[in-house]
Symmetry: C2
Subunit: 658 residues, 2 copies
């Protein structure tokens, strides 16, 4: 039976939840396929995550390997293939709790970086799991700055082999997933040396464990890097190489080859390869970043209509905590952001598909823009979503702090997305570099890519809003965001030029502007996200109340961003203090409006109770019963040796006399 | 041997580290005592935390009980007593990783709420550990709002007993520490009923486990609530009561008594009791909140001078990451905040000691102000320090995400401080209520408490700063903070009055202003923190470079707060856009200045390597070596059954045919 406090929230939905779900999925047929995958996965006990919060790192690893192996069988049973329509829903249905994800990266790197001959040799072996692959790039002392990697691969003309070494401890490979315990092979990135000359970083296929008994190969030291904040199911590993020899054919050689005599030959264009790395940043957003935020919103909002605390009105029963303005102000902007980022993700996916087609036609014009967008949005969205999940956790008070709420593990996992695939600050500075370049070009009357043409059209006007309702006009707020992005970019460009003209070295000047450059990059992405949300809403059908509620969310997303960054909008007087008060008034009004549809808006994300894996967020709202029953199964409710060893002697006063 | 990149940072300190340590400790003699305690604790292997990151919740609990029992012996050996000078350093030396903390709360609640007779009976039993106590207030469905607690205690005149019951699942006691597995007794808060009439919440001593064999007493259901985000060493518990009878003498009766005939008698003043609860919020700040931030700063800053990444200048070696402005902008404001909060903590402790003396003289005038300050500062400092620890974690990239960095556990633990002892938003609204009341009183010409007299002196001037150096004047920035606090309080008071005058019910009007009330409360606390830091610096001796570096930190704390909240200062034009640019310039200049002393400034916190328990933060800077050696000892480097069970059949293609 559904908790009546939750049920009552669903009776008053202003829109069709089912139609909103279909919109999010990209059509009702997609919803049907997704649900079929979820049903097949969740009805299979091997994929259960019920005991997850009670398991040790070792148990989590073992379960993840078991699931990965079982998944092969399941896919065959269900007739799912890697290029079928179901495939993209499998990982989400498993909540990512499965091993061998790096095996896929191993395969992709061979497909992208390998010659046809190498692909023909290795891909079938990997597909049939005759080996388990990993991808060894990051080192203990080296991450983002790839040129700094220290592992060496020296070509030995006599034996036609590369000799791989870890010259010092900071050169040890560190972090590669699946490498700590599972992998038999890995792609090692190392500095290539031929006849004493360094040719930079190249990829080499290296076997690290025996295919017979899984023992480490000669010259290999490898193991698990130990406990992390999350990802207990993944065996992130370390790898030390000591005179490990691999044949010449093991250097992935689509772009560069070493001939038998040691001649180094570069061939083809590596640009497509860089592009592949760029797309990874976009492709991870959906499952790794948006889904966790959507889950956290679902949990926190459902809990906030079931939890009652204090009296809002004297004489009445305690109020649902979502009726407090402060609680709405915590949660509803996160909900709006989840929708905003869903739509910008659609936009980016489409843009990158188009870019891919262009690049295959050898047209590389879009590359700088795509790189800037993928860097900036990866940083912005991971940052916002991580903060959003944390807000949801805290908004659930003590119960949010219990692992059984599901929120701590969502938080500790999403946090990693701010660090992997490019640390966010460094990525934002990449975007900023592009912005500055385009701003200078635009100022000089040169053409610039579509996403930054607005930089050329600097307007020095004022915000025309006259009352709080004007701030519900997308034109008004989109223009305000645009104005801020232009101002921050142009003022930082000016500071940079001033410094250089005053004699500061270019690299020093750049460093002295980086705090402000990061602000400019964020403002640029925020502007595009707001603009895209507004344009998406404009195009929605008006039926079933969908457009109306999406318009409210778009307004909330935009006004929350202004409310939380008032200084950026007030700074040059584009927005006046009186207008800022209107923004605040409209923003607070919107909270009360959206609060009414809050539960239907999270229901539309269509998470099953199993996938939420949360005592607070289940669809029936039976929070307390679930917490109690679940807690009773905790291993901490088994007998502890602490009683006999310490408590009993203490209480019985039989500890050796003090 | 110390990593040369770390060693070089220490050679150029602008001040005496040892003298700064003594200042933080409150004198060189205190430093000596503290170090002696740390030495005694850390040289005892029972107190080792070396394996902590590898242990399960059960293992952590067992170790914490073992340490708690061993500590009794240790104190006797060392001649430490509960009222000796060493006592306050013990918990810090143990990093809080010990059981029976609630036993102390149990004792304190009896001392404060019990009659002389009850104190005489129970305190000796507890002191000698003939029982283990807990404190059962929070329920599954009830936290902050104490009046909402649902557990009942019905007085039975016939047997002269109270009959305690958990009427429904939301009334189950939930969270009490030490109760899940250890406690034999607890103080239960329940609604008192006599002859069918409810007299509100009262405390009752209830035995829950046998003193002989530790089995649960009749009518008691209790256990552990399971895994949490941290506090694995504490057995937070649940408790269900079914017709549990306790004698009339077990109701703690310093303030209220039930006579044998059922007559309810209220005696004395409860005010001193409320005050005790208020002081808890202040007393937790030092060990639970400031220490973790100081540790996180120590770890992140030491790591940031050892880690090198990318080239700042072409042709040079990779740069220390602390040389990047963006890294300075992440870490140095946290360092400044740690010092700011240390000094405000001193101020609050002193104020509360004075308040305690007044209250013992039956002068309760200071109570509202102390309540407002303790609520606001508990919220502000826990919020800032939690965010600061998270920033430190993220600033260490991938290695910060490893448990071996120590940062994840600092974060997951400090996060709880935002929730316990009063949820922060609710506390800030308590402070806001006081501010609004005082503002109204001050406006009407009535006297108000010292910390809020500034509300009466509303000045409508402009910030007088003329260049960026003016913003290094404490008068300039303190006044700016004061102006913002007054503006936010007065504008919200005006909104509140407007709403009420327009016919909105008082409670609705309050709810509609809460987002802004929270802002006002934060601004008030921020102002006092800045003012106190500036006044503290003013009074410091100028010798040994201490005052100079503290002045820089004070400036940074103040300017960072403006830089991060520009809108609040720009809103009414008190600060102009041109002045805000001066703030930014001064702020960024300060980062480069303080960066030079960053390592000495964290060295002054004087944490031992054992207490940091971090591969990144050790005093010798041997980061990579330590990570590698530590990881090798992880249980994840033992043989896993996953190979024989799943990997081998997969690789050998002997899985049952698909």
């Amino acid at each position: 039976s559904v908790n009546p406090d939750l049920a009552s929230e669903r009776h008053t939905a202003s829109f069709s939840v089912e139609q909103l779900t279909a919109l999010l999925d990209g059509g009702a047929e997609q919803t049907r396929i997704r649900r079929a995958v979820v049903e097949a996965i969740e009805s299979d006990p091997v994929f259960s995550r019920e005991d997850q919060y009670f398991q040790t790192q070792n148990e989590r690893y073992e379960a993840a390997v078991r699931k990965a192996v079982h998944l092969q069988k399941k896919m065959h049973e269900m007739g799912w293939t890697e290029d079928g329509p179901e495939y993209k829903y499998i990982y989400r249905a498993l909540s990512g709790d499965v091993a061998f994800l790096l095996h896929r990266v191993f395969m992709r790197s061979i497909s992208v970086l390998g010659s046809d001959k190498q692909i023909a040799k290795w891909i079938p072996l990997a597909t049939q799991h005759k080996l388990i692959g990993s991808y060894a790039q990051t080192e203990l002392g080296h991450g983002t700055y790839l040129q700094g990697l220290e592992t060496t691969a020296v070509f030995d003309t006599a034996t036609q082999e590369f000799i791989l070494n870890t010259p010092k401890i900071s050169a040890m490979k560190w972090w590669p997933g699946d490498m700590g315990r599972s992998a038999t092979h890995t792609v090692v990135f190392a500095q290539l040396y031929i006849h004493g000359k360094c040719y930079g970083i190249h990829p080499f296929i290296v076997q690290i464990r025996s295919l017979q008994d899984h023992s480490l190969c000669p010259g290999i030291t490898a193991g698990d890097i130990g406990p992390k904040m999350n990802f207990e199911h993944i065996d992130n590993g370390y790898l030390l190489l000591k005179n490990v020899r691999v044949p010449r054919e093991n250097m992935l050689s689509k772009f560069c080859e070493v001939r038998p005599d040691g001649t180094y030959v570069r061939q083809g264009s590596q640009k497509i390869n860089y592009f592949t790395m760029t797309t990874v940043r976009i492709s991870l957003l959906s499952d790794e970043v948006l889904t966790p935020l959507m889950k956290a919103c679902t949990i926190a909002i459902r809990y906030s209509v079931v939890r009652r605390q204090s009296k809002l009105k004297p004489g009445e029963q305690e109020a649902k905590i979502l009726d407090y303005q402060t609680q709405q102000e915590k949660l509803l902007p996160q909900l709006a952001a989840a929708y905003a980022f869903h739509f910008i993700n659609d936009y980016l996916q489409e843009l990158f598909d188009r870019g891919y087609r262009e690049i295959q036609r050898k047209n590389f014009d879009m590359l700088p823009e795509l790189h800037a967008l993928s860097s900036g949005f990866k940083a912005m969205i991971t940052q916002h979503c991580t903060a959003g999940v944390e807000i949801c956790l805290r908004a659930c008070g003590g119960h949010g702090y219990s692992l059984l709420s599901g929120l701590p593990s969502l938080y500790t996992k999403i946090l990693a997305s701010c660090i992997y695939e490019g640390e966010n600050t460094i990525l934002l500075l990449q975007t900023a570099r592009f912005l500055i370049k385009c701003f200078m070009a635009a100022s000089a009357g040169q053409p610039v890519p579509p996403s930054v043409t607005y930089l050329a059209a600097v307007k020095h006007g004022k915000c025309p809003a006259k009352n709080k309702l004007d701030f519900l006009s997308p034109d008004i707020y989109t223009e305000a965001y645009q104005h801020v992005a232009v101002r921050l970019t142009s003022s930082t460009a000016a500071k940079l030029q001033d410094l250089i003209q005053s004699g500061v070295k270019k690299y020093d000047a750049w460093n002295q502007c980086t705090v402000q450059l990061v602000q400019a990059a964020k403002a640029h992405c925020h502007y595009i996200a707001v603009k895209n949300f507004a344009e998406t809403v404009e195009k929605l059908e008006t039926k079933a109340g969908i457009q109306k509620i999406m318009k409210h969310l778009c307004d909330l997303f935009a006004l929350h961003g202004i409310f939380a960054n008032t200084g950026a909008f007030l700074h040059d007087g584009y927005t006046s203090a009186a207008q800022m008060d209107m923004v605040t008034a409209s923003y607070l009004d919107l909270l009360a409006v959206i609060r009414k549809d809050a539960v239907p808006l999270v229901d539309a994300f269509d998470f099953t109770d199993q996938s939420l894996n949360s005592a607070l967020g289940s669809s029936d709202g039976q929070v307390y019963q679930r917490l109690y029953e679940w807690a009773q199964r905790s291993p901490t409710n088994q007998m502890s040796p602490a009683y006999e060893r310490y408590l009993k002697p203490l209480l019985h006063n039989t500890l050796s006399k003090l």
